[in-house]
Assembly symmetry: C2
Homo-oligomer: 456 residues x 2
């Protein structure tokens, strides 16, 4: 058994440097969705490769049809020791709207114990703390307690299209006993959590076309269909007044484990605090469910974007030729991705008003996931988090999606441990994204301890 | 009586130059809605002033809180002769979306007998032909058959806020026996028309706010209201499935003269041709009304623009903090502007979903108008148009608004003659706006003849 005290000591002695390195990582605008950032996205991969090498991993950058996949390996624990695969992503969400950031998105800044930057918590900070935990073991003890494979992709924010084909092609390289992912939030500050469910995603773009070009709304209004109005009527058809989704068959396969529902209802929830966090006038959602149920075990149908006609300063009396909405459904177990896509498309076709043509594009999707909680991986995770944070873990759901979790389990046949270090209100995917400095540090300790626990 | 043959001859001999001058006018991007074009808008006013001077008018540029108002006068017909006020506007709509223009918006080009440019028909071409008609009289005969006041403003596309205060302040300067306006379309090519009704306008911006910033649609979706969805539900509440507007009291004061309705139903209408012109899959509108009724005598409620969340390439899983719609109602006689504004705001408040805050801004508005058809002005207009186009005029409605028509009648106490030279499909307010070369030329003749008719 390795000397864990030395590992802890190494981490504590190097925390300032770790944070400075993370700042370097955050300065690279690796926005995978934007082709003009392709060079930056590659730069982030190469930067991370150098850091993995420095930590003591053997690294390979694998080209894909999109952004490269980075693999780091350390196999010195021997074939009898378990192997752990740690997954994360080096790409980030687009930073827009830029004017809503307090400090620039790609110039990390600490305020009130938080690292503000695009990608700080999603997922560069959470990925990089594992690199530092590995470095601590290898520098302090010359070895890791387990074999480790790190897998970092650059397309998580655009649907991870090239990841699973890569994993399927490299099953031998990636063979593992456990998959560890830190790309989610803890239940609350100081309350370490293990994620036990994820919602899946089905992301659509609805395109509505009317006349061949924009028309004068006075000269033509009333006689020619308005695509923006048509789109609004389509969107309004998704829910009833109680927030239930009206897409036929949408809830057919929604299954929630009764014991999990029971546990959710015991969790502390301060509605006023949550309202203050999100800054909305009130909480609303599907009638008959609590907030955590709405977030963790109920599917959604949300508009992510709307665009039509004239949207700038002043008044333009235009009858738009075109209207577009981005709409995504969060799916829960056991909703099937393909089935939901079909039901959604069928619904839009059914409600589409006449006088316009409507097209539904499937942009990307991901399966929902539910943890198999039994087994040594979850026990090791719980002990590692208790060690780092000084209190028992909470088993929490997660409203977001990490589409590849269930795919990893399927292809690699190993259970996944979701050990997130984000926090509520972290603004992932929004301006002023942040990660807690304390969680970055305690997360590094937790990761180091997890490797210890899995190796013992 | 002046020599009308000489006037006609002068026009025919100078048509090429008139067109080239119009091109100069069209090259000035006088987009009144955009502050970055303020200098261009002024340049258009000054350019027009020079041309009026050259025609023989005495000109004055009056400063306002917005864009300047240009007045040109010729009073040589004497105090016994009638005075005619010709109104037009030198500002234009924003040209966006630029990529849908076949040739650039501010680089006029003739294709198939049409002058393509932003402002060609709305309203620079229709305004400028009157300047040229005046020039023809003054150069050919040294005098005009009537006293003339030309009034050109630069804020018609943004609500004419400063025009009526100016008119009210200068009632003596602008005292007239008739107001002539060319800012509308003919019923069809070769079919000269006099406009007998205009719809009024009430332009709103609806702003819906939810959380204080954009949120991750996975982490928060389902528990926090979505402003884009809320906005869609508000918009969907404006109409029933038959296209009737559901705003309480909206139709209360809608009055259409039975004889006009009767005449509308006798007008030729080719549905397939109209569908081809607008390029929509089908014509839709309020059930129980024909297309011309929907356009001329029925009010509307149209979305002019929509914006929320992420609208660029790819998928961003954002729960927007904000959603905006521009919505305008076309009003018909005798709907009262203030009343409609209040009913609209009340309706939006009533249907606004919980969990969001909703604000309704009134951007601008204009009264509907109905012509008083009896009298010498209409007879003179009909004769002038018959002279220029060789056939009898059609009395047509107009779906659009010229908000100041009823205001002119109220303040100046003189009837207005709507003598438009646009054509269906002219793309006013849309990419590829055009004006027929033939109508520019025949319109110049018609204007010259109208002055003659009014003076005889």
């Amino acid at each position: 058994m390795s000397n864990n005290g030395a590992v802890s000591g190494y981490i504590d002695a190097n925390l300032d440097r770790f944070r400075e390195e993370l700042f370097e990582f955050l300065r690279i605008p690796s926005v995978s969705a934007r082709s003009e950032h392709n060079d930056d996205t590659r730069e982030a991969a190469e930067w991370l490769m150098q850091k993995m090498k420095h930590a003591g991993l053997e690294t390979t950058l694998h080209e894909t049809a999109g952004h490269p996949i980075l693999v780091g390996e350390w196999r010195g624990a021997g074939s009898d020791a378990p192997t752990v695969l740690i997954y994360g992503h080096y790409d980030v969400q687009p930073p827009e709207p830029l004017d809503l950031w307090t400090s620039p998105a790609f110039e990390p800044e600490i305020r009130d114990g938080r690292i503000y930057a695009r990608g700080s918590v999603d997922d560069k900070g959470q990925l990089y703390l594992h690199v530092k935990a590995i470095e601590a073991h290898l520098k302090a003890n010359g070895r890791l307690p387990v074999n480790v494979v790190m897998l970092a992709e650059g397309e998580e924010e655009v649907g991870s299209e090239n990841l699973m084909p890569f994993v399927e092609k490299h099953v031998d390289l990636l063979k593992t006993d456990a998959v560890v992912i830190s790309d989610s939030t803890m239940f609350a500050p100081g309350m370490p959590s293990i994620g036990v469910s994820l919602r899946g995603l089905a992301y659509f773009e609805i395109r509505v076309r009317g006349a061949k070009s924009d028309l004068h709304s006075g000269s033509y209004g009333g006689a020619v269909a308005n695509p923006a109005t048509a789109l609004a009527r389509i969107i309004a058809s998704f829910h009833d007044d109680d927030g239930h989704i009206l897409i036929d068959g949408f809830y057919d396969d929604v299954v929630a484990a009764p014991e999990f529902v029971e546990q959710i209802r015991t969790l502390p929830f301060d509605e006023q605090e949550y309202i203050a966090e999100v800054g909305a006038p009130a909480l609303v959602g599907e009638k008959g469910y609590t907030t955590y149920e709405r977030l963790w075990i109920r599917p959604t149908c949300e508009v992510n974007g709307l665009l039509s006609g004239y949207t700038e300063e002043g008044a333009k009396t235009v009858l738009p030729a075109y209207a577009m909405a981005k709409v995504s459904c969060r799916r829960v177990p056991d909703q099937d991705p393909k089935k939901i896509e079909k039901l959604f498309q069928k619904h839009v076709e059914k409600v589409a008003p006449s006088g316009v043509t409507v097209e539904v594009l499937v942009l990307h999707g991901g399966k929902p996931w539910r943890a198999r909680l039994e087994g040594s991986l979850y026990e090791a995770g719980a002990r590692a988090l208790r060690h780092a944070f000084g209190r028992d873990v909470i088993y929490a759901g997660e409203g977001g999606s990490i589409p590849i979790v269930s795919e990893f389990e399927r292809v690699l046949g190993a259970p996944a441990l979701l050990m997130g270090f984000g926090l509520p209100g972290e603004n992932a995917h929004a301006p002023d994204e942040w990660m807690s400095v304390e969680n970055f540090e305690k997360g590094t300790h937790a990761s180091a301890r997890l490797l210890e626990e899995l190796g013992s």
